[in-house]
């Protein structure tokens, strides 16, 4: 079995393929859930929900991109769980006013995602790691500082730098409302 065969079998409703993928990626899904939630007892339940989503949406998952897809689903489920407990996440947030989507909404969102990707990938490596830990995995400044052995103020400074870079790229791409001042 390889990933391509597994996804094909999954689309035909083959439970063995699901088990094969689960055994292959359970460790990664658990890592994402733990990164967001910490040692939370609900992780196993959420992990089974992640693989149930893979079963349900097998038609949308492309071979070779399963790990990324599972990671994104795990992150979003963990983030939702976190929000249920704490409606306001302890993140260094800036409210962005995004340009209203036009009639070609789907295309606009795709371009926006491409722009976001370009902005984050353009960050210096450590800044990018901190940025993703904070805004993608919802880790607090304190946790990042502990894990990376940094001063919290340094983490905050690097986050600020990342945010400015993101806004600049989004603005240049036409994805921020021009009336907004930062």
């Amino acid at each position: 079995m390889n990933e391509t065969k597994a996804i094909r079998a999954l689309r035909r409703g083959d439970e063995a393929a699901l088990v094969w993928l689960l055994e292959r990626y359970a460790g990664y899904v658990n890592a994402v859930l733990t990164a967001v939630l910490g040692a939370d007892p609900d992780r196993e339940e959420l992990a089974s929900d992640v693989f149930l989503a893979l079963w349900t949406h097998a038609g949308q998952v492309e071979p070779g991109k399963v790990k990324a897809w599972l990671g994104a689903v795990a992150r979003n489920k963990a983030r939702d769980a976190l929000r249920k407990r704490r409606p306001s996440l302890p993140l260094e947030e800036d409210v962005l006013t995004l340009a209203a989507p036009g009639p070609e909404e789907a295309m606009g969102e795709r371009e926006q995602a491409d722009c976001l990707r370009a902005a984050v990938l353009a960050m210096e490596e450590t800044d990018r790691d901190i940025f993703l830990r904070h805004y993608y995995l919802c880790q607090t400044v304190a946790v990042i500082a502990r894990d990376l052995d940094m001063n919290p103020s340094t983490v905050k400074a690097r986050l600020r730098r990342g945010r400015e870079k993101l806004k600049k790229t989004l603005r240049e791409g036409g994805f921020l409302d021009e009336e907004q001042h930062f």
């Binding site: 359970a26 994402v32 990671g71 990707r117 984050v120």
Partner: protein, 341 residues
């Protein structure tokens, strides 16, 4: 539209953050819990079936109409059920076979046969143009509907999800209206995930694996015109697979070509029809090296080859393709159908 950065990251397209795998404490429990949820979901969706008429029309549309309508092959007797699999030498033999089947099943079925009209093959240029109709209007939606039966007449879209690489994808939504007051109140909704690719080998990366053409051999043996292929899967609103359809076009020197098409509708059953040997220049059955049992026949430059199971049809439509070439193609196609319940 106001958004904060963590919301924006919901659409983060990767790469994934570098995380070390963290072993699950009880993998057996996770496996068991997940399968429990999968089976519970299956029970909830049981009983929602696409009407037989819709699925029948889908498979017919996939495997017959594209080639048949173009060639005028469907001029003869239409029957209630079709399956291109029984060669007979006379109408009497068909009647006797139908009577035998009725005795076995306890059900009297109408029967008939396809009568080719003797027209020559569709010119290659026209076949290529037809095969590119989808890719030519990928982002305009000019050609998105009509392939899944008469009851679904509200296809909307397309939502193009990729039109940059060697494989393009888009999503189409469909509503089955039906004729009853209840179906009008609660129309069933379907989603069609469509793909077209530069070459069949590129398209192979998104196929479900139900049918596995040996694209390496096909590519070595034939030429595939760019973007002259098409594949889709249909799911209902519960994300249950309702069918898939694929068309691949290959060409040979001197205007010769072959179009390979297949359609699959899980959970449905199709009965058979008859082919009259005398209507063709040549007609025979063939079992491929991969175990496919097919009926191959030719008339005036056209070759048809069909292989069918109760829920699956695969066909070749060839322009000046030889029987031997058709057999070689069938030898390089594997079909993996899920076991019946």
């Amino acid at each position: 539209m106001k958004s904060n950065i963590s919301d924006l990251m919901d659409r983060w397209p990767g790469p994934v953050p570098p995380l070390e795998d963290q072993p699950v404490a009880d993998l057996d429990a996770l496996r068991a819990r997940t399968l429990e949820k999968v089976r519970a979901q299956g029970k909830r969706t049981k009983g929602r079936r696409v009407p037989r008429a819709v699925v029948l029309a889908a498979v017919l549309a996939a495997c017959v109409v594209l080639a048949g309508a173009a060639t005028g092959q469907l001029q003869a007797v239409l029957t209630r059920d079709w399956r291109h699999d029984t060669l007979v030498s006379s109408p009497e033999e068909a009647a006797a076979d139908a009577a035998r089947r009725a005795e076995e099943t306890g059900e009297n079925m109408a029967y008939g046969w396809i009568n080719p009209n003797g027209d020559p093959p569709v010119p290659l240029e026209e076949m290529v143009e037809k095969a590119r109709a989808k890719s030519a209007s990928w982002d305009t939606g000019d050609c998105i509907g009509g392939t899944f039966g008469p009851l679904i007449n509200q296809w909307t879209g397309p939502e193009v999800t990729d039109q940059t690489g060697a494989v393009w994808s888009r999503t189409i939504h469909g509503v089955e209206q039906g004729h009853s007051p209840l179906s009008a109140l609660f129309p069933r909704k379907y989603t069609k995930y469509e793909y077209t690719a530069r070459t069949p080998a590129d398209l192979d990366t998104v196929l479900s694996g139900l049918v596995t053409p040996d694209t390496d051999w096909l590519t070595e043996t034939f030429t595939a015109p760019d973007w002259a292929n098409f594949y889709y899967r249909i799911y209902d609103s519960r994300q249950v697979l309702r069918g898939e359809v694929c068309h691949l076009l290959y060409t040979l020197p001197e205007g010769r070509y072959v179009q390979l098409s297949y359609g699959y509708a899980p959970g449905e059953t199709f009965s058979s029809s008859y082919l009259m040997e005398s209507h063709y220049d040549r007609a025979e059955t063939y079992t491929s090296a991969t175990g496919l049992e097919a009926v191959i026949r030719t008339k005036n430059g056209i070759l048809w080859a069909d292989t069918a199971t109760p829920e699956f049809l695969l066909s070749l439509y060839g322009g000046y393709l030889t029987v031997e070439e058709a057999e070689a193609i069938l030898d390089h196609i594997s079909v993996e159908l899920a076991p019946e319940d």
